[in-house]
Amino acid sequence: METASALRTEIITLNMGPQHPSTHGVLRVLLELQGEVVTKATPVLGYLHRGIEKLAEHKTYHQFITLTDRLDYTSPFINNLAYALTVEKLLDLEVPLRAQYIRVMLSELTRIQSHLIWLGTHALDIGAMSPLLYCFREREETLDIFEMVGGARMNQSYFRIGGVAADLPDGFTEKVKAFCDVLPSRIEGYERLLTENKIWLSRTKGVGVISAEEGIALGLSGPCLRACGVKWDLRKANPYSSYDHFDFEIPTGSQGDSYDRYLVRLEEMRQSNRIVKQALEKLPPGPVNAVSPKVVPPPKEKVQENIESLIIHFHLMTEGFNVPKGEAYCSVESSKGELGFYIVSDGSSKPYRVKIRTPSFVNMESFSSMAQGRMMADIVTIIGSIDICLGEVDR
């Protein structure tokens, strides 16, 4: 009889994706396996590369807003915001307080929505089906809210350079308030399903561990870095769009594993809910667009009433506005981490160069070190716990 030591063993290479339900899009991972243990995991990217940065150089500043939605399509408003802030910085535009609050409110609702999608799909990957159904129930409610302001369920492109497309519609505050009131109890519901669930614990605790030092060296940001115990959130560290007017906490973890990332994101939803509530209460009256006739088009009613406004509107929509020569980098805390736009302007109506620092792309870089030495089944957990959006990874 053959003894165990005499058995021939070899490392096999397994191709996971790009068509695989647990890779959250078209991610491909090359796995080198010794039995069931992963000795090396190499992500292969680019299956969703649409050349958004190249397209940006051929669109006016206004036209490009719609493409930013399509980066991380689970948090469109935050993408709009990062882009708008950068262009506004180059233009020296002062955005009215009401617009800033509306932007904050929608960004936080987007964060909640993005975390809901993450939680539902992540739990489904690991084998728990019910959280998906509950999370998507709440997500529907957020989509209804987004539809009210942007007219679409996804990719709303509601933010504009200098403000937002239009003031909040009637019935908006009541709807948001109702959602905010019910959300905490719903989050408790998810917690009852998962937080102390034995299977959930054994599938996520100690899986995909990364240290704070390693995370910072690899450019990790967002909830993934906070789960390592680094209390860094751009909303607090370098506040933008009046985030310093609101009272909220930054949750952190300590182990840097998938379970801590889960806890951090759950708490973030509660904190975002707090911010939305405060923004609703404090929402000041006033205009929702900056006063800058050369950038902000006249209101629709005026366009229909007088010829001068029609001409200005036509001019702004066809030729766009010129942005002074220069360059700027602005970053915001997206649902996944630091989302930054670096824009170089040559003084024309189209950007000379747009570089988008997307958190999913950079966070994915940590994947290999998280996956090394883990079991094959953990790969699914790790990909899910990083929370990537392939639209953002490949751009």
């Binding site: 051929h58 180059l90 450019g219 700027a328 792309f361």
Partner: protein, 153 residues
């Protein structure tokens, strides 16, 4: 922001021959570093306690077609401790478009540099694994160059 001005002064004093230019625009501080000193300056920016740039937010290339030097590599640095930012720029050499890789300083530069090589054709010398990352294997050309057409030929 006064602190940043002091900091940039200090960097200039430490490397008088390496810093070619310093710019302040919209409260953003930028330095231009000579290519041959890039690694040395990067090490200093990361390790010096007053600078503390331990986080490389972003790295990208820009093609200024028709200008000399044509390409520019832009590094966006951030300090977790001081919460300040600095933009560092360097230009690859004219003949072989090469520039030292900073992977040894900031690990995250690995993918950023691969992307920059993939889309602009800048060669990062001493990079551990300089392969294309976003475009498919066997792709010809560098799409983000200004002389690369938006639509197919």
């Amino acid at each position: 922001m006064a602190r940043m001005a002091e900091l940039v002064e200090r960097i200039k004093e430490t490397f008088p021959q390496a810093i070619e230019e310093t710019v302040v625009y919209k409260d953003e501080y930028a330095i231009r570093v000579k290519r041959s000193y890039l690694l040395e300056v990067s090490q200093f920016l990361k390790q010096d306690p007053a600078c503390g740039f331990d986080f490389l937010s972003d790295l990208c290339g820009v093609d200024y077609l028709g200008r000399e030097p044509r390409f520019e590599v832009v590094y966006h640095l951030y300090s977790m401790k001081h919460k300040h930012r600095l933009r560092m720029k360097a230009s690859p050499s004219e003949n072989d478009l090469s520039i030292p890789s900073v992977v040894s300083v900031w690990k995250t530069a690995n993918w950023h540099e691969r992307e920059c090589y993939d889309l602009l054709g800048i060669i990062f010398s001493n990079h551990p694994d300089l392969r294309r990352i976003l475009t498919p294997e066997g792709f010809k050309g560098y799409p983000l160059r200004k002389d690369f057409p938006l639509r197919g030929k």
